[in-house]
Amino acid sequence: MTATMFIAVLGLAAVAFLLSRQRAYRIAGANLSALHSRPAYHGTYSLLWVLVVGWGLLLALSVASSVLIEANLSARIAEALPDAPEIERQLVLSDAVAIAEGALPSKTGDLRAEIAARHTSLQAWRNWAIVILVSAGALLATAATWSQVALGWRARNRAEKIIRLILMSMAGIAILTTIGIVLSLIFETLNFFSNIGWRIDKFLFGTTWSPLSGVHEGKLDPDKVGAVPLFAGTLLITLIAMLVAVPVGLFAAIYLSEFASRNVRSTVKPLLEILAGIPTVVYGFFAAITVAPAIRGAGEAIGLSVASESALAAGVVMGIMIIPFISSLSDDVINAVPQSLRDGSYGLGANKSETIRQVVLPAALPGIVSAVLLGVSRAVGETMIVVMAAGQGANLTANPLEAVTTVTVQIVMLITGDTEATTAAGPAFTLGFTLFCVTLAMNIIALRIVRRYRELYD
């Protein structure tokens, strides 16, 4: 029903468009330039109004009537079962709706049958009401806008204004959801801090991470929510990943943009980008099943003890994952360095390596730096690989051969663990908020640098 009306409004809007446009043509006669707005704009103006009124009414009426019907049915149930608990009334209602819609109810009975019948009749009323009101509204909009068509009618400005409002409300939705998410992060974080007696210092600088150890007594122990081991683990793995990704990615980019022939470039670049398309969960089990044992084997061969889950394995694999980001972004910025700068350098008798080192790379440096920063924020936020390959123990160590844990891993553990979600949510949200702040800062810095770099050449 709703879908039918949705399409009907669309059809009516198209008709309104044609009618108004037609009228504009007729009013203008041979002298089209006498119209303030071109006929198509008169049509668009009508079309927009019909859509806004029609779809708007449809949405508003559907929601409102559902609420009303439910309220009506609930009132009837409450009347029939004055002593039943709320949950049972709910059950009756959902069974009645199921009966009315021909689905399987959990139980049947007189009351349920009665409510179902009532539901059916109310639905029929409601459908008619919607059809009539929506059609009336849309027709009214058609007629009103059609009769407004005149030589001096500023349909274009008005249509553009409506479109602007529509775009604005879409942007508003996007912004509001973001704000909502951030606000809920902040709220949960504050909540968590108040639960540990505002010992924010314990969270930021404490070295013992075992946040759920006290939950059975119903409180969080500020001495056990020290996140330093997680920060340290994240840092260590990020460092290893960048040590792998930056040199490989950067040199690959330099090779691709400055040395490779066109053929090599056109095959290698997409191949590198395939790396970026591999889901991180694949990298994760690759790290856990292939790389970690290999590293342990190699370590044992030279007499080192390596944990079966190690920061090194996770970091190296994460580095491999980040290579395509760095190489492809750097390749783009190196390519964006104007050829005239290279020519200038060659024209002064510089050779290729001098030109690359002294002209191309310095010119591309801001872009490369921001590519690296984006890589870092990927590494910090990466979850799958570390969950599988880095371990879970919150060890405070700088030894890459031991198991470490990261902020993201602990969030996963908290949320997927046995503890009730509401208890575990506090520390998880707080860690998430910290992570959010770090990546946000890094992305802002990266974007700043990129913008400055753009200004240099544009």
């Binding site: 066109r262 104007p338 700068l341 200038g344 024209g347 002064l348």
Partner: protein, 256 residues
């Protein structure tokens, strides 16, 4: 005016193709040492292209193909054993569009001398930079802002910076592609003085769209049209009585 008749650059049967575009057609020309040669001709006739053949800058363009022989001091610059990098140290170039490096003014000028190890110490380098900037008539404007980026200069200042940069490496031949296109008459006069001074030691080839400039600074003029070298000879001769009707119509302003 003393003229040596020593040939510095000699081109024979030079053809340049950019993919399917035939940009330079069978050009023969002898450029004399210690003399200024002007290349003139309508836009798109191949002046820049021919200029770029002389220091092998066309090597950096994938689609460009150069045939024929060009010799510098009698040696074929397209021979297999010639290193274009060394060639370009001898044959400097000022490009049609100013292309300062995104570095400081000082580092822009010092770029060539540093690469070629021309300065033994900082004082030497300072001297080269100052001298080059003075010769390019930029010193007075730039002396207080040597550490600022060269890209922050005005268009005309950038053009002079690029001239200073090219002069700083002391090339034997200087190729200048419309070096005064963005300059006011005063700076143009200073650059023309510089060209006149360079002529004592180097040969200079200058591409220009200004007939007056060609007449003022050059001793030899070459007129290009649609990729052909139509006429080449003494500047006085070309401007007073051109032999080819195309040259005549160009310099009197009827084609171009």
């Amino acid at each position: 005016m003393q003229m040596s008749d020593e040939i510095k650059i000699s081109a024979r049967d030079v053809n340049v193709h950019y993919g399917d575009t035939h940009a330079i057609k069978d050009v023969d020309v002898d450029v004399l040492d210690k003399m200024v040669t002007a290349f003139i001709g309508p836009s798109g006739c191949g002046k820049s292209t021919f200029l770029r053949c002389i220091n092998r800058m066309n090597d950096t363009i994938d689609v460009a193909r150069v045939d024929g022989t060009i010799t510098l001091d009698g040696e074929d610059i397209y021979a297999r054993d010639v290193d274009p990098v060394q060639l370009r140290a001898k044959v400097g170039m000022v490009f049609q569009k100013p292309n300062p490096f995104p570095k400081s003014i000082y580092d822009n000028v010092a770029y060539g001398p540093r690469i070629h190890g021309m300065a033994r110490n900082k004082a030497d380098l300072d001297e080269i930079v100052e001298k080059s900037l003075r010769r390019a008539a930029l010193w007075d404007e730039a002396k207080d802002r040597l550490a600022q980026p060269g890209t922050g200069l005005s268009g005309g200042q950038q053009q002079r910076l690029c001239i200073a940069r090219a002069v700083a490496t002391q090339p034997e031949v200087l190729l200048m592609d419309e070096p005064c296109s963005a300059l006011d008459p005063i700076a143009t006069g200073q650059i023309e003085d510089l060209i006149d001074e360079l002529r004592k030691n180097f040969s200079v080839i200058i591409v220009t769209h200004s007939m007056q400039q060609a007449a003022r600074v050059s001793q030899k003029t070459a007129f290009f049209h649609l990729g052909n070298l139509v006429e080449y000879g003494d500047t006085d001769h070309i401007f007073t009585n051109p032999e080819d009707p195309r040259t005549e119509s160009y310099i009197t302003g009827r084609i171009g």
